[in-house]
Structures are given as structure tokens and as C-alpha cells.
């Protein structure tokens, strides 16, 4: 179940260099949305929509947040959108994260893979540890939001300019060793996801990863958005928009 429409942008913030945070007023979509799902966003003048994760959902206010980084010409165009203006989206799309009721979770976000972690981390509040990795301190985002949700936050930077110096896998492994969570969620570059999925397998912890692929329809009709997965020992091509974007870590063929 999803909707398409033009919705009012209730808020717009630049939260880091080239990273924008839009709050969109779309009650019908907010009512349906779950953490981990995404939106297909139209960029004026571009033929294909851009997939952007739903970062956060406020069911009461009827809003969702979309946090995106300017990567190319389409996201650059999206960055021109203004508060009070309209944004054309199809949402919510895909499958969200599995919530382990009453459980403890670790949410691992790498770079612009961090936003989709907010919605799911909030489900766990203080039972969530959020490990975020960024290239450098200046582009770290959403740390206050995670803190405000009561989550424990661990910030890593590749260059050591803030938090732990190094990759997210080190603090994750520490945690997996010390106090096993019920589930690990991850979004970020493929090598990071691969490392995380391997660690989780090693420590016997369920892991869900959110994948990316170039898309057209976003709803499962065109079959362009394939990723390689394994089901029942068999290699199959799944579709990120419909079978994902959230996949079980063991299901993904990272080779």
C-alpha cells in the first residue's frame, strides 16, 4: 500500500555540507510508513525519480523526514526545494526493518546510510545502540536526534576527527562480544555491510541490511533494481524496491 502525490514541505534544514533534511507533510503516507521504507522522489527536469529512505516518521503530525546528500544533478535539484513548496513523492515503498519487540538492537549507519537508522532506533529508544561512521567530523549527522530518542550513540570517523578513530565494525564487534543484541540493522556502503553481515553471522546475531540499487518504478513492476541474494541455497536476483530495501544479512550475496 502506497500513495503518490505532491505534498507540502513543512521544514527544510541543511544539516551538514550538502546534506538536507526535509520534513514533508503527508498524513496518508505517514500513516502507512514503517522504519526502513523509502520514497521515490521526483526531481524537476529529470526523468527518473530518486529513491530516498524515510528517515523518521511522525504519525501524529502526519509527517515524514527525508535526509539526503547531494550526489549528482538530481539530488542537487532536490536541494533547491524550499519550505512551503511541494515535493512529488511515491511512498512508502519496500519492506521496512523487522522490529524485535522488547529486544535490544544495534543500528549501524555509514555516511548517508545513517538516516534510515533513525526511525528504527527510535523504536528501541534506550535499548538501541547507534553506531555511526563518517569520513570526517564535519559531515556527521543526526547524532542529536539519536541522543534525543534516548539511544546510546557511538560515533566513528575514518580520520579520527571525532569519536572513535576507524570503522564502525570495531565497536560493533566489541558489542557483539560483550552484550549480544537481539538484532543488528545496517545501512551504508557494500563493503561495510558485508563486514557487518559477516560479524553478525560469526556471533550468531540476526542482521538486517538496507541495500541500494538504481531504480525506475520503485514499486516492483519494472524489474530493473536487482541485487544478488541466496535463498534456500539457490542464487537468485531479488529486487531492492520490492523484496528490499531491507534484506536479511545472510540472504545477500556479497561476493
Amino acid at each position: 500500500m502506497y500513495k503518490q502525490g505532491k505534498y507540502i514541505i513543512a521544514e527544510k534544514k541543511a544539516i551538514a555540507k550538502g546534506v538536507f533534511d526535509l520534513t514533508v507533510s503527508c498524513p496518508e503516507i505517514a500513516a502507512l510508513a514503517e522504519a526502513g521504507q523509502f520514497a521515490q522522489v521526483a526531481a524537476d527536469g529529470f526523468f527518473l525519480r530518486r529513491p530516498i529512505s524515510i528517515c523518521d516518521i511522525d504519525k501524529e503530525r502526519g509527517t515524514i523526514r527525508l535526509v539526503f546528500e547531494v550526489r549528482g544533478k538530481g539530488t542537487e535539484k532536490l536541494s533547491d526545494l524550499q519550505k512551503g513548496g511541494l515535493i512529488d513523492i511515491i511512498a512508502p515503498l519496500g519492506n521496512g526493518f523487522t522490529v524485535v519487540e522488547g529486544g535490544k538492537a544495534v543500528c549501524v549507519g555509514g555516511g548517508i546510510g545513517t538516516p534510515p537508522m533513525l526511525g528504527i532506533a527510535k523504536k528501541y529508544g534506550e535499548n538501541a545502540q547507534v553506531i555511526s561512521g563518517f569520513r570526517t567530523a564535519g559531515i556527521a549527522i543526526l547524532q542529536d536526534d539519536f541522543a534525543a530518542a534516548g539511544c546510546q550513540t557511538t560515533l566513528c570517523t575514518d580520520d579520527g576527527t571525532a569519536g572513535v578513530h576507524g570503522f564502525v565494525t570495531a565497536p560493533l564487534e566489541e558489542r557483539l562480544k560483550s552484550d549480544k543484541p537481539d538484532i543488528v540493522y545496517a545501512c551504508g556502503p557494500m563493503p561495510m555491510l558485508k563486514g557487518i553481515a559477516n560479524l553478525c553471522k560469526q556471533y550468531g546475531v540476526k542482521c538486517e541490511v538496507s541495500l541500494e540499487q538504481r531504480m525506475a518504478c520503485g514499486v516492483g513492476a519494472c524489474l530493473v533494481c536487482v541485487c544478488r541474494t541466496v535463498r534456500d541455497g539457490e542464487q537468485i536476483l531479488s529486487h531492492v524496491c520490492k523484496d528490499g530495501p531491507v534484506f536479511d544479512g545472510e540472504e545477500v550475496d556479497f561476493t
Partner: protein, 305 residues
């Protein structure tokens, strides 16, 4: 639904001339969140092969100016799954069902036809123009003799269904292919399939598509499609279903004036999933505004200079 939009294509009546194009609409399931399929005249389902196919590796899509490339490579569950799983669902939807089929050999196409003939599909669309598969595909659609042979073989195994043959635009003379296919027994023609194209990621110096090349569709190709429909309409007697870049009701009217009895809408759906419904509504209003009793009246009415 009004009488204004009813069209008849080789004996099959469509409540309106708007049909989502094969491969862009799955089997309709995904768009039912937005509107009932019954709003549309028909659906051309995802290309169906004898056996299930995984298709090509990803990425399978690249954006282009006013269009896109795809290199899906006919991923589908095979004809058995189509007949057993998709058909029963589609039959409840009050929409004409066009089975789009593709085979790696003449024999395979014929076998597919024989399996589909006893089913309740309304029409078969033989795809001899897929640019994204190694065997069959476009190779069938770019040579008159081969195109005729595969058409004849399928025609023979399809005694109970009208056969529409889908042509490739990647040819020197689409009218020659059209005439060969018509002579071989096609009851209708559909065109155009995608134009072969390529995009390169200049940072990585690699093609964006894992398949290196893919099929171009979307508004960019519209003028090429209109030209080809017009040329073919002037070369054959069988009805034509026109497609390639149609995004608005005005585009649909233009395509019909060029000679198409109905239209298929593909890539435009990705930009606006309501596009086919808006085209239906737009055509209805166009008929009202221009006192056109039935939309078929405009088919082929362009008057060349």
C-alpha cells in the same frame, strides 16, 4: 465507461485504447494500490519465456535526457507461472490481457504459442525485438526472412488468438520488416520496442549498465516512434498499436493520428504512475471537446503535406 473510447483491434474489443507496455507494469499487481486495473483498456504483461529467466545482472537502468535505458533481459517466471499464477488474477480485473512472449529460437516461440493458445488471454504479442537478450530477441526483428519465419511458426500454433508482432526500431527499414511479418500472418503490429543505447559513468570509466548497452525508451524516442508508426501504417493493412515515449493524452492523440489504433504507455509510468489513467481521461475529454463519437475516427488521419 463511455462508448467514445472503445476500440477494436483485430476482433478484440478494448474499453479504451490505453495499454501499459510490456515490462513496465509487471502483471498489474503493483499499481492496484493506486487505481483499479479496470480503468485501462488492456495490459501487455511482462515478456514471458518458456522457462523462468533471471535476466541480466544489475545495474539494469540508466537515466538519459527525457528517457532511460534498461537492460532487464526478460526476467520472468516462465509461461507456466504466468498461466497458473498471473492469469487467474488478471481474469478478475476486467481488462484485456495481452500475453507478450519471447523465445530464444523459432521452435521455442512456437511452443510458447501452443501453450498460450488454449488459455484465456485476449491476444498474443510476439516480441521479436528485445535488445537485451543474446539469443532470439532483436536478432529476430532485424531480418525480414527471420522475422517472417518466426511469425509464421507462431501463427501456426495460435489458431484461437490474434497475433500481434512487436517490431524493433533498430533497423534500416521498418516498413520492410512490417510487410514481411504481415505477409507471414501477423494480425496486428506493435511498435516500437526500445532503441539500443549506452551510458558511461565517467568517474569509473565503466558502462552504467552491467550489460554495457540497453534499450532506450521514454519521451526522448517519441518522434522516432511517431515516424515509424506513420511509415508502417502506410505500408500495411493490419492494425497498429503504437508506443514509444507516450506520456500525455496529447501524445496518444498524435500517435493515433499517425496510424495507431491503440497505444501502449511504458516508461512514462515510472515518472507518473497515474499516467495511463490520465491519458484515458484526457482522451475522453478530447473526444467531448471535439465532438468525436469514437476515438477510432482519428486513427491515421494525419494529412501529410
Amino acid at each position: 465507461m463511455s462508448e467514445r473510447l472503445k476500440v477494436n483491434i483485430c476482433g478484440v474489443e478494448f474499453k479504451n485504447p490505453v495499454i501499459p507496455a510490456s515490462g513496465t507494469y509487471g502483471y498489474g499487481r503493483e499499481y492496484e494500490s493506486l487505481y483499479p486495473l479496470s480503468k485501462l483498456g488492456g495490459i501487455s504483461v511482462k515478456g514471458t519465456t518458456l522457462n523462468p529467466r533471471q535476466g541480466n545482472q544489475g545495474p539494469r537502468v540508466a537515466e538519459t535526457p527525457a528517457g532511460m535505458l534498461n537492460s532487464v533481459g526478460l526476467q520472468n517466471g516462465g509461461v507456466k507461472k504466468f498461466l497458473e499464477y498471473e492469469m487467474p488474477n488478471l481474469l478478475t480485473k476486467d481488462i484485456r490481457i495481452i500475453a507478450n512472449i519471447a523465445g530464444a529460437s523459432v521452435e521455442e516461440c512456437a511452443e510458447l504459442a501452443s501453450l498460450i493458445d488454449p488459455s484465456e488471454v485476449d491476444m498474443v504479442e510476439l516480441n521479436i525485438s528485445c535488445p537485451n537478450v543474446k539469443q532470439g530477441g532483436a536478432a529476430f526483428g532485424t531480418d525480414c526472412a527471420v522475422a517472417a519465419a518466426v511469425t509464421a511458426a507462431v501463427r501456426k500454433e495460435l489458431p484461437h488468438k490474434p497475433l500481434m508482432v512487436k517490431l524493433s526500431p533498430n533497423v534500416t527499414s521498418i516498413t520492410d520488416i512490417a510487410k514481411s511479418v504481415e505477409a507471414a500472418g501477423a494480425d496486428a503490429l506493435s511498435l516500437i520496442n526500445t532503441l539500443l543505447g549506452m551510458r558511461i559513468d565517467i568517474r569509473t570509466r565503466r558502462p552504467i549498465l552491467k550489460n554495457n548497452v540497453g534499450g532506450l525508451s521514454g519521451p526522448a524516442v517519441f518522434p522516432v516512434a511517431v515516424r515509424m508508426v506513420w511509415q508502417v501504417a502506410n505500408a500495411v493493412k493490419v492494425p497498429i498499436v503504437g508506443m514509444g515515449g507516450i506520456a500525455t493524452w496529447e501524445d496518444a492523440v498524435e500517435m493515433m493520428m499517425a496510424g495507431a489504433s491503440a497505444v501502449q504507455v511504458g516508461a512514462a509510468i515510472f515518472a507518473d504512475p497515474y499516467a495511463p489513467v490520465k491519458i484515458v481521461d484526457g482522451l475522453e475529454q478530447y473526444c467531448i471537446d471535439n465532438s468525436i463519437a469514437n476515438i477510432s475516427e482519428i486513427v491515421g488521419t494525419v494529412q501529410p503535406w
